[in-house]
């Protein structure tokens, strides 16, 4: 190990800490968004969910719950999306790359969507 190694490790970890800051910012309404091919196909306000909700998109099945969203089924070969834990924090995102489906969770102070399209 050389001195430069420690600089590299410390600076990468510092970058991680910076990137993690948005996750811990105070949050308001929690919404989950589903994208297929980069287009938003569904937006769910998680905070106001009363029961869990399921949604199917491009071979993936996504479960929305009050505290987060997760992939529960997918027809892709690697199943990485299903293995991923529930997305809970602001900015948390997970993709099923073979199916081009992305789920992302936002927890922002105000809800800046005028229309929710299904």
């Amino acid at each position: 190990m050389k001195k430069g190694d420690y600089y590299v490790i410390v600076s990468v970890l510092a970058l991680c800490v910076l990137l993690f800051i948005p996750s811990f910012l105070p949050s308001g309404e929690k919404t989950a968004e589903v994208y297929v091919d980069g287009e938003r196909v569904k937006t769910v306000c998680l905070t106001s969910l009363k029961t869990e909700e399921r949604f199917e998109a491009a071979g993936c099945e996504i479960l929305f719950e009050k505290d987060g969203a997760s992939f529960i089924k997918s027809d892709c070969p690697d199943q990485l999306c299903v293995k991923c834990k529930k997305l809970k924090m602001n900015g948390d995102s997970m993709a099923c790359v073979p199916n081009r489906v992305v789920v992302t969770v936002r927890a922002e102070k105000e809800n800046n969507y005028d229309i929710v399209a299904y």
Binding site: V8, I9, L19, Y35, K83, C84, S93, R100, V102
Partner: protein, 173 residues
Amino acid sequence: MKNMTKAQKTALYGILSALALLLSVLENYLIPDIPFLPPGAKIGLSNIITMLTASLSGFSGAIYITLLKGLFAFITRGATACIMSLSGGILSTAVLCLILRLNKDKLSFVGIGVLCACFHNLGQLAAALVISGTPMLFNYGKYLLIFAVITGTATGLCLNILMPRIEAALRTA
């Protein structure tokens, strides 16, 4: 390395490629999903071989191993895995060779390994962004970076121990 005959080089590349593929298989099938590891994150054992090849024979040898790994991923795990393997592999190999050329004594293999792992993840993340067309995915990078530090350090320590011995063995060969 320079005074090797063509046959010796061919044999050495053969051994190194076989080792790289074997280590990829090992980490795919034998090491189960570690619970706290983010999905998609891997230890990068075969990166040991890429770094070893790069420091022995430079960019050409390392990129050859990387391309072979991509082909292997395509055959065993399909097109997406191949794109992921190549996007990360080519970027990290390029960075690796750049570091090796620019600075021989400031970093040991630990620092180089961590940087390679980071750029490997960056390449893969960029590929995932392009395929899915969703920039929000970039957020996943912070989880990958933490593990890049851990896995990069692990592979780097392996090489710190291995490299002097391999170089000594090649000198006497």
